[in-house]
């Protein structure tokens, strides 16, 4: 079952390689991502019914949490591939990309999808390998544009994330060492399923050390401050369809690694140590985003800093703990993935139209591109946490978890930070959306494909704000049951 899901994007990548024209490669990519989406949903349904799905003699494994990551990857992946047709098609039409590059883009896109799905379904601390693979593939996606800034961003991304991930490897080795003492040396001693069962017998000293390395390592990849320095560069310089995947999905994959280790480490060290670390890094990330969002001049960088903020919020939710905190964090993962993709898609439309990333050089989107403008406005309200959108619900849940658990100071700080971010973000966004369009901008949308993609994610953003369907609620509760340790 799981192997078919992994096979779909790889096969699509290979088929893309064989195509001969723009139309063909787009069709193959679209069909491939629909297939990935369907297989992903089938897996989610299976996990929902049976709790755990295992294949390939224990190597691949999906519980509720993996299924949740698969769900996010396959939905955003599908939407991003729809968006790509419009976005890349526009660049192709204007001669920024030739067919060779376009083909390379689609091949890498689907391999990138494969690596992210792999992160979710490996039953192994070898998760490390999958996460490093995502870095490698996405760095290549970033240098498709041969601008100086893209090359610089890709190099920084590659170097900083590889170093970070090397630390995570050290943490993984230490965990394995801890596990070997309990389980004996075997290939199974790194599997989630066997680790979690005996995690409370691990030596706390080793697990503390391991968790610090893991948090620094995967935290680098998840964009937690102060290891986030590569993130604004990478997310703003990548092609916009890729930015959506990087921000919406890849960060969640790294967060997934942290949370998995968090459950193991906490069973051994007790909750105080690990939770406090997560709260500190979480608050730091939210706090650091504040000045950079308020004073930002580049709208894609502003969105990137907003991702730093939201990863901080997820870490904070897990750190606050309890069923409420975990529920909020998991819901926030989904909401952030949808809303941030919506924002990046909108930003991509604006970028294609105005050919600049500076906030001051864009205005009157509402007049020149009414649909994009409306959707951006909805996304902007949602991402800053205003009701009645999804992120409001999850942020509110996390905040109340903080107060319930007695973390008054952190909760108040959190509240203060998000209010400041709301003001800064919205001030910048409204400069772009309202007003009179700059001269020389021809009214009209860029492409129907890009709008279609935006509408799909916007549905999630709006619906989840007013109504969480019972099956979705059950799914999140199952994830909470997996990751909850306190």
């Amino acid at each position: 079952m799981i192997e078919y899901l992994l096979l779909a994007p790889v096969l699509t990548g290979i088929l893309c390689f064989l195509t001969k024209s723009k139309k063909q490669v787009e069709t193959v990519s679209l069909i491939g991502s629909i297939a990935t989406l369907i297989l992903g949903l089938i897996l989610v349904k299976n996990v929902y019914q049976n709790n755990v799905v295992i294949s390939w003699t224990n190597a691949l494994f999906a519980d509720a949490f993996s299924a949740f990551i698969v769900l996010i990857v396959s939905i955003v992946g599908f939407v991003a591939s729809v968006y790509s047709i419009g976005y890349m098609g526009h660049e192709f039409k204007h001669g920024i990309m030739d067919f060779k590059k376009l083909k390379l883009y689609y091949i890498l896109f689907h391999i990138f999808m494969f690596t992210m799905l792999l992160v979710g379904v490996t039953n192994n601390l070898g998760l490390w390998i999958a996460i490093e693979m995502t870095t490698l593939v996405s760095a290549l996606l970033m240098i498709l544009h041969t601008k100086k800034s893209s090359v610089e961003a890709a190099w920084k991304y590659m170097i900083i994330c590889t170093v970070g991930i090397t630390f995570a490897l050290f943490g993984t080795i230490l965990t394995y060492y801890g596990a070997v003492k309990v389980l004996g040396e075997s290939g199974d001693a790194l599997n989630w399923t066997s680790l979690i069962a005996v995690a409370d017998q691990f030596d706390p000293t080793i697990m503390k050390l391991a968790f610090i390395f893991i948090l620094i390592g995967y935290g680098t990849k998840a964009g937690l401050a102060p290891m986030h320095t590569w993130l604004p560069d990478a997310h703003s310089e990548a092609p916009t369809s890729v930015s959506a995947l990087l921000s919406g999905v890849l960060l969640n994959c790294a967060m997934y690694g942290i949370i998995r280790f968090y459950t193991i480490a906490t069973k051994s060290t007790g909750p105080a140590f690990t939770s406090n670390l997560l709260i500190i890094f979480g608050l730091l990330s939210i706090g650091i985003a504040v000045p950079f969002i308020i004073l930002q001049e580049d709208y894609k960088r502003m969105l990137a800093y907003s991702s730093v903020e939201h990863m901080g919020i997820i870490a904070l939710g897990i750190g606050f703990g309890g069923a409420l905190g975990a529920f909020g964090a998991i819901l926030h993962m989904f909401n952030h993935a949808m809303t941030k993709s919506l924002m990046f898609f909108g930003a991509g439309n604006v970028l294609l139209k105005h050919e600049t990333k500076e906030i001051d050089k864009v205005s009157g989107i509402m007049k020149s591109m009414p649909t994009t403008g409306t959707l951006l406005l909805i996304g902007g309200l949602a991402i800053t946490g205003s009701p009645p959108f999804g992120i409001f619900i999850s942020e509110f849940t996390i905040l109340s978890a903080g107060f319930f658990q007695g973390n008054i100071i952190s909760s108040v700080l959190f509240l203060l930070f998000i209010i400041m971010i709301f003001a800064g973000f919205f001030y910048n966004l409204s400069k772009m959306i309202f007003g009179i369009p700059k001269s020389g901008i021809v009214p009209g949308e860029v492409s129907r494909w890009t709008l279609g993609a935006m509408v799909i994610v916007a549905v999630f953003v709006i619906v989840l704000g007013v109504y969480i369907p019972p099956f979705f609620y059950d799914m999140i509760m199952k994830v909470v049951a997996v990751i909850r340790v306190i």
Binding site: I129, T166, I173, S186
Partner: protein
């Protein structure tokens, strides 16, 4: 088991030589000699793995030793030399920190690593020597990354860190499960190739591979 192996004289000697090779990289301003020293270091690591494999009689570790020998001490240095030749880089490395302070910092890092590892209570059962050498390699690798200007040296720094972790893994647990080790080798190799592509790209767009020039994206 591991303790016996790592207590033995030959192992101590190998680990000492691994440290020496790291200092060869720290103390050199010529790209070729850095790459050569890295090759020697990887060869020594392969020897360490080979000895562990011999004394534990595990075939997994033989495979790992062989892969280290082929990939890290032959293929990767070759890729480096290929890049150096293709883009005709100046053979001298420019430094942010000069050679003699570099060596002193390197020495300090070794001492710090040694005390750090000694201070952790888990140490009683494993070879503190190997683990502190591993820590030293990681920290010196990091130091090389931030103190050298050439993009190639940053790549080399990452690989030194990776070598350090390899030493740590093999001294702590006789290496990770084979599947994971293979995955790591795969990632390292692909990583080097992709960093190579990036370096070519940097050279093409900036007409140099000095990381000084990569300073435009801020704020």
């Amino acid at each position: 088991m591991a303790e016996v192996v790592f207590g033995s004289k030959i192992m101590q000697l190998l680990i000492a030589f691994i440290l020496v090779s790291t200092f060869m990289i720290l103390g050199s301003t010529r790209l070729y000699s850095c790459v050569r020293a890295f090759g020697i270091q990887s060869f020594l690591l392969a020897c360490v793995a080979g000895i562990v494999a011999y004394s534990t009689g595990k075939y997994d570790i033989y495979i790992v030793a062989l892969l280290t020998l082929i990939i890290k001490s032959a293929v990767i240095p070759y890729i480096f030399i290929y890049i150096i030749r293709e883009i005709k880089v100046k053979k001298e490395i420019e430094l942010y920190v000069n050679i003699s302070p570099s060596l002193i910092i390197g020495g300090t890092l070794v001492v710090i690593s040694y005390y750090l590892i000694r201070s952790i209570s888990i140490i009683s059962e494993l070879s503190s020597l190997a683990l502190s050498a591993s820590m030293s390699l990681v920290s010196i690798g990091l130091f090389i990354m931030i103190s050298r200007k050439k993009a190639l040296m940053q790549m080399l720094g990452i690989l030194i860190m990776e070598n350090g972790l390899f030493l740590g893994a093999i001294s702590l647990t006789n290496g990770m499960p084979l599947l994971v080790e293979l995955g790591i080798f795969f990632d390292v190799l692909i990583g080097v190739l992709i960093m190579g592509i990036l370096i070519f790209r940097i050279n093409k767009t900036f007409e140099s591979i000095d990381t000084d020039l990569l300073k435009n994206l801020i704020g």
